[in-house]
């Protein structure tokens, strides 16, 4: 039988590469990478699955960005895994200012390119005259930016913070979901363990507004507040963790000058 013409060979090569990388995942199920966040890895029985995409959800100020920064910091400083932080909302100088409150030496990691910070906030939020016709689009600028950084920097951990801004800006939830799924697949092929952040509305420790979690995320973690007398306490919950048992129920956590600590 005649072979297909060369026009389809690119696609076939891509498909084959995908199948091979999926097969690799099957061969080594459950290879974990600890986040290094104190108390967290125990909650998920040893860490996150390498190559998986997780969703970190919570209200504003819940500690999502700190959690992600620490995930990357510990990865780079303690596990030799270079990390990429893509900021879609908060300016990098503001994030770095926050990081300075912690006893973390981010600067030397950045200098050694163990930590790559990408500021796409101005673009996402729009600090120029902008006309938006977001019916038909592909998030392939974001895709190619991330993939280039991942390939050139040997990146193993990726944070997208927050993806909710994409849903809000583009409006077309279905397309954004599909595109994020494509990006998540690319990260999986490169063996990157990733956290996508979504911001939820106040008072609701629910998951997301956009239904990203059901189809895409290998796990969902929720951060939230609860009143406790006069004060408020921070809580974390493992909502879902594919392929693993996990602690069920809420855990208190606090933010210290050495990062997040899961308490009791």
């Amino acid at each position: 039988m005649a072979r297909r013409s060369s026009s389809s060979s690119g696609f076939m090569a891509e498909l084959k590469e995908r199948i091979i990388s999926e097969a690799r995942v099957l061969e080594s199920p459950g290879e974990r990478t600890p986040t290094g966040i104190r108390g967290f890895d125990e909650l998920v029985r040893g860490g996150l699955f390498r190559g998986a995409t997780y969703l970190l959800s919570g209200v504003s100020g819940a500690g999502k960005s700190i959690f992600c920064l620490e995930f990357l910091y510990r990865g780079a400083a303690e596990y030799g895994e270079p990390g990429l932080y893509v900021s879609l909302e908060e300016h990098l100088d503001s994030i770095l200012r926050n990081a300075r409150n912690f006893r973390w030496d981010m600067k030397s990691l950045i200098d050694r390119q163990m930590l790559v910070l990408l500021d796409l906030s101005a673009v996402a939020v729009g600090e120029r005259a902008l006309s938006l016709n977001p019916d038909m689009f592909a998030l392939d600028g974001l895709y190619t930016t991330i993939e280039t950084a991942v390939k050139e920097g040997g990146i193993k951990r990726v944070v997208l913070d927050p993806i909710s801004v994409l849903f809000l800006q583009y409006g077309n939830v279905g397309v954004v979901r599909r595109e994020l799924n494509v990006i998540s697949g690319m990260l999986k092929r490169h063996g990157c363990t990733s956290i996508f952040v979504t911001e939820t509305e106040h008072g609701k420790p629910s998951i997301t507004r956009f239904g990203v979690e059901e189809f895409m995320a290998d796990g969902v973690f929720i951060l939230y507040w609860e009143p406790e007398g006069e004060k408020r306490s921070r809580y974390i919950e493992i909502y879902k963790m594919r392929g693993s048992s996990h602690y069920e129920g809420k855990k208190r956590f606090s933010v210290t000058d050495n990062g997040i600590v899961i308490l009791y």
């Binding site: 990408l118 796409l120 101005a122 673009v123 996402a124 120029r128 005259a129 902008l130 006309s131 938006l132 016709n133 977001p134 019916d135 038909m136 689009f137 592909a138 998030l139 392939d140 600028g141 974001l142 190619t144 930016t145 993939e147 280039t148 950084a149 994409l166 583009y170 595109e179």
Partner: protein
């Protein structure tokens, strides 16, 4: 002619939906306004450094360089012409001065 200071960059990729329509809209808008502007097409997948440098998140993205105006997604001809119109006025004023 207002080229030099101004140009149009269209960011695309293989996956860009309705890309031919984007180019057509840009070209016809320029033609209707009688503007002679350079149009550069950049494939972000082949030029990732351009995507990184210029902060391109999605395609199609149309940059009116010099005006600091960016269209994300496919604009209508009217929308595009409304923005490009200001270049025409500028070109005419400068033409008179010269």
């Amino acid at each position: 002619m207002v080229s030099g200071r101004y140009k149009i960059v269209i960011f695309k990729s293989e996956r860009t939906p309705r890309y031919p329509q984007v180019v057509k809209t840009v070209r016809s808008s320029l033609e209707k306004l009688g503007l002679d502007l350079e149009v550069e097409e950049v494939d972000v997948s082949k030029n990732p450094e351009r995507a990184v440098r210029e902060g391109i998140i999605s395609t199609p993205t149309i940059d009116i360089v010099g005006l600091n105006w960016r269209f994300i997604g496919l604009p209508t001809e009217d929308e595009l012409m409304a923005v490009l119109e200001s270049l025409k006025e500028e070109g005419e004023t400068r033409g008179k001065e010269e």
